[in-house]
């Protein structure tokens, strides 16, 4: 689509959407959000970019093949699940570390659950973009 307004606006919008998608991903454990929603947001952002600038530009901006992103995401999710097995817990049991936790401060919570959610995020981004870019190019 050849529209100067759309192209100019998209540069700003896409950056905001990607930032917001990461925000949604990270806050998901306590507030509405999560890997799935974040992944959809990021996917829509790139889809918008593809509509404004063309799929070739979108693929360049993405740097990796969307299928590869989906597969890497799947691998990360699996590793997050296997991680629990290393500590003798059942598969996919959440593992938590509270970095710098003190008596009155619970510290920075890090977990295998977050890693798993990042995997979900990447799978959704990859799958959505595989379809969107594939359809845009081929149909």
């Amino acid at each position: 689509m050849n529209s100067l307004i759309l192209r100019t606006a998209t540069r700003l919008l896409v950056a905001l959407m990607l930032l917001f998608s990461v925000y949604m991903l990270l806050r998901g454990h306590n507030e509405p959000g999560g890997g799935f929603i974040g992944g959809l947001l990021a996917g829509i952002g790139f889809a918008l970019y593809a509509i404004a600038h063309g799929t070739a530009a979108a693929r360049r901006a993405l740097r990796f093949e969307p299928q590869a992103i989906a597969m890497v995401g799947l691998g990360i999710a699996l590793l997050a699940g296997l991680w629990a097995a290393m500590f003798g817990d059942p598969l996919f049991t959440g593992q938590w570390w509270f970095v710098g936790a003190g008596d009155d401060d619970k510290g920075l919570p890090l977990s295998s659950v977050l890693v798993f959610d990042i995997g979900v995020y990447l799978v959704v981004v990859g799958a959505v973009l595989t379809l969107v870019l594939g359809l845009e190019e081929e149909v």
């Binding site: 949604m24 998901g28 454990h29 306590n30 507030e31 509405p32 959000g33 999560g34 890997g35 799935f36 929603i37 959809l40 947001l41 996917g43 829509i44 889809a47 509509i51 969307p66 299928q67 989906a70 597969m71 995401g73 799947l74 999710a77 699996l78 699940g81 598969l91 996919f92 959440g94 938590w96 919570p109 977990s111 659950v113 798993f116 959610d117 995997g119 979900v120 799978v123 959704v124 990859g126 799958a127 959505v128 595989t130 379809l131 969107v132 594939g134 359809l135 845009e136 081929e138 149909v139």
Partner: protein
Amino acid sequence: MNESAAPEDRPADRGPGEAAARPAGAGWLPALLPAALAAAFAAALPTIAGGGTIRLAADWVPSLGISFSLLLDGLSLTFALLISGIGFFVTLYARTYLAGHAHLGRFTLYLLAFMVAMLGLVLADNLITLFVFWELTTLTSYFLIGFNHASAASRRSALQALLLTGAGGLALLAGMILLGGVAGSFELSEILARGDLIRDHDLYLPILVLVLLGAFTKSAQVPFHFWLPNAMAAPTPVSAYLHSATMVKAGIYLLARMHPALSGTDAWIWSLTLFGAVTALVASVIALRQTDLKLALAYTTVMALGTLTMFLGAEATVAVAAAMTFLVVHSLYKASLFLIVGILDHQAGSRDAERLGGLARAMPITAAAAAAAALSMAGFPPFLGFIGKELKYEGALAIASEPAVVATAAVLANALMVAVAGIVALRPFHGGRPRAPRTPREAPVTLWIGPVVLAGLGLLFGLAPALIADSLIQPAVTAILGRPETVKLALWHGINLPLALSLLTFALGLAVYVGHERLRRGLIRLEAGLPATADQVWDRLLDGLKALAAAQTRLLQSGLLRRYMFITFASVAVAVGVTLAATGAVRLPAAWPELLFKHWASVALIAAGAVMTALSKTRLAAICALGVVGVGVALLFVMFGAPDLAITQLLVETLVVVLVGVVMLRLPSLEQGARRRRGADIVLSVAVGAVVALTLLAVVGAPLDRAVTDYFETASVAQAFGRNIVNVILVDFRALDTFGEVAVVAVAAIGAYALIRGTRRKERP
């Protein structure tokens, strides 16, 4: 009758240059397995002869009452010894017979796999285990019959055998499940002890019919007899092994094994006696008509199977003893005769009765083995065949219900067997100058050792019948009848009716042998006058089945996507609607719920979007209107406290509009035809919507169990350190489910991508 399936395993058919591909030596190695098994089974002889049994059991699927249990008693030991013993000679023989064949290794694998399956079948003490091995014999025999896969006739025969015995196997499975239910156990040893309970049960007749279907298809009883001669497309060692000595006897084994549980009723006696007698007679008449020695032998096998079935219908000890003795006799002489026909084919270049003659001088050992086997087959003393035949007559006369029918059938079938024995084993070797397509030479030892030993055993057991009477026949008869029995075998029974019948048999057989060429011409004329042979009926059945499949595919698979979707959604609407109406699950709320203006506004938005979608004139408008519906639903989610769901809905809706827009906008504009069909589509969508709404009402109307919700509300922060229950469930409590879902998403995306790319490659090469 089966000219179309002329066997095609001539060793001369081998492709050029294949001989060099095979390293020589170690040809005897695979034969070690059957040899070791035979030795192990022979070691069990004293235990079995002493009246004992050996049982091994391990749990397999304990929750279904299925165990992997094996039982070695007289019946299974007789079969096991035949299977492993003949298996040894056949394996050895095949190494020479198919020497240099490119797929000899594969052949040996199939053969040994078949042997193991067959052993499992006769040793199984559990119905399900037995069935699994039963099916394995079907499969392995499919591979063996179709071994010459380049030949269309081979493939047809293999498929025919597979379909027919496979269908019988399905019937058998149904029968076994019924039987296990009635008897309350799948263990054979327990079922066999509850014969009276089974016979008095209402389901006895269905069980009997289903089990007999399995046994009759496997053991080639009329009208299922035609697959067995067709199976002669297999290489000769296979014919010798599967289609004479072992696999086709699986049905006989089943009948013998089930004897204590199912026998004794009128239905059992009549069906076995009649089918057996008809099979024996029909098969021996057709056997006379053949000139291909292998086919003639094949039909005598069918005849033998009929005889065995006939005698297993009886209750009398002597009849069952006759069946078991004849089983051993038949396995010994038939395996050696098949192997001898293979030798003729291999060494003299033909197995056509009319092209061979006077070969005894060139092939003395083979000729001697053939003579011994044929004399046993014809039932001359002092061969075991004579004892078997005398016992048969004695048994026939002892059958209480119809001694005349059984005795007549037995005499006629045996007389024809005398003639066939002469045709197969006498004519090629004796009489006149040597005639053969190739200069005959005596076979190597690996070829003749099997026939010689097997035929020799027929003579040895005839001279010393006590060798098998106590150790095999008596325990087997005991196992079949389910009560202790004493069986004595002897060559000389004194001058009695069976002896007179024997003499009558020889006279009749001689007369048929002398006049068999004229008889054959008459039979060929007769066959030409028949409307159709069983084989042709089978072809017509298969053609009919294919035509039916094609017709229903044309009817259902129109290839129009919109029709598929219409049918799918209509089925959903009807199925769910009928269920709702039948169960009366829908309870309309008693009072109208309190709704605010914003709720009404959302509902109005959704309704307006839906109407717009249905009525819009362009695709873009329809897609956008559909998006409005989704946004309205998302609004409802927000109002009722499901922000995660609302966000997801909104995002997915956005994506759908983009994706559908990309695809749909490339399609031609909505033309008149599509609009005309819109009426039916609108009716359908209203129906689906109504059904979904009613289902939701039914769900909401049912009392809500809050146990799970309460658990997650308390456990979410305490165990998973998260306040967003939805996401905590997704990534922690139900993480494995989520992992499965994202895997599906990834695979679906890649699959869709492959499809998209695939269409491009076709369009723009």
